[in-house]
């Protein structure tokens, strides 16, 4: 009897786990998928590191003030797979980033698309983000 319960439970588990899951460190726990932002500004610093990369950007607001954004990206394993290289970043370069704003921190964002000054566009999103097609 116990074996049968085990079998049913395990089968249910396997079926459940086939559904799209958010196993990673939870986009939903840190970022708001209802708050997409497009950030145009100057890249002041880049951290090309594991497990996540970081892009620091100064973005001029409509009121003239400059907002300092911290944008989380995927790590080098994924970025290089999409064609981006550490050498593509120079301090002071301008860029456009499409991202999702942080839930608790309004100056934090989860980066999805990076467009460099030369027009090249890269998917920089971490695994487990919203299904917005940015990775295609």
């Amino acid at each position: 009897m116990k074996t049968k319960i085990l079998l049913v439970l395990l089968a249910a588990g396997a079926l459940w786990s086939v559904r799209p899951a958010q196993a990673h460190h939870a986009f939903a726990a840190e970022y708001d998928e209802k708050k997409p932002v497009t950030l145009t500004g100057i890249v002041t610093k880049v951290q090309w590191v594991n497990p996540h990369g970081w892009i620091y950007m100064d973005v001029k607001q409509p009121d003239g003030k400059v907002k300092h954004w911290t944008i989380e990206t995927a790590g080098p394993s994924q970025l290089s797979r999409h064609g981006l290289k550490k050498a593509d970043f120079t301090d002071g370069m301008s860029a456009v980033v499409k991202a999702y704003q942080g839930l608790k921190d309004p100056a934090l964002a989860n980066g999805r698309t990076l467009v460099l000054a030369d027009g090249r566009s890269f998917y920089v999103g971490s695994v487990g983000g919203p299904n917005d097609g940015a990775d295609r």
């Binding site: 085990l6 439970l9 249910a12 396997a14 086939v18 958010q22 939870a26 998928e33 695994v127 299904n131």
Partner: protein, 145 residues
């Protein structure tokens, strides 16, 4: 409910962490069983005896894994199913579950001396390989997408 749950950041993270404890317990039960199948670990106990005890733990831990895992699904479809590593992990997981519930279960429960000694060893090795594969490929999804 999914919305309110998601907005409770800490609850989400806590559930995810408890999920990890449940997964670790599940793997612990698998591992002690596989060690015994390989002729290591608690050798003073029979394979069947260890398997019976481990099975109780597997059931409860498995239930905990499901219960703590379900709230993590969101109503919005996420991008996982396009990840080849994710698909690979899911196939491995299905194979591991099927193997555990059928062949491994039968071999572990068999009386001592009924099977040639290489059989439980082979089953233990295959089980370890499958479940280690699930763990490893699961982690690699984060890095390689």
């Amino acid at each position: 409910m999914s919305q309110a749950y998601r907005e409770s950041l800490y609850l989400f993270a806590l559930t995810q962490s408890l999920h990890l404890v449940a997964v670790t317990t599940f793997f612990g039960a698998i591992l002690i069983g596989d060690l015994r199948l390989l002729g290591w670990g608690p050798v003073a106990q029979s394979r069947a005896g260890i398997a019976r005890s481990a099975q109780s733990v597997l059931l409860w831990a498995g239930l905990a894994v499901l219960v703590t895992g379900i709230p993590q699904f969101t109503t919005h479809a996420l991008t996982y199913q396009r990840s080849p590593i994710f698909v690979f992990k899911m196939c491995l997981l299905a194979a591991a579950l099927a193997f555990t519930a059928t062949l491994r279960q039968r071999v572990a429960a068999a009386d001592e001396g009924r099977l040639p000694s290489w059989v439980p060893r082979a089953v233990g090795a295959v089980s370890l390989a499958l479940w280690m594969g699930v763990t490893i490929s699961g982690r690699l999804i984060t890095f390689f997408g």
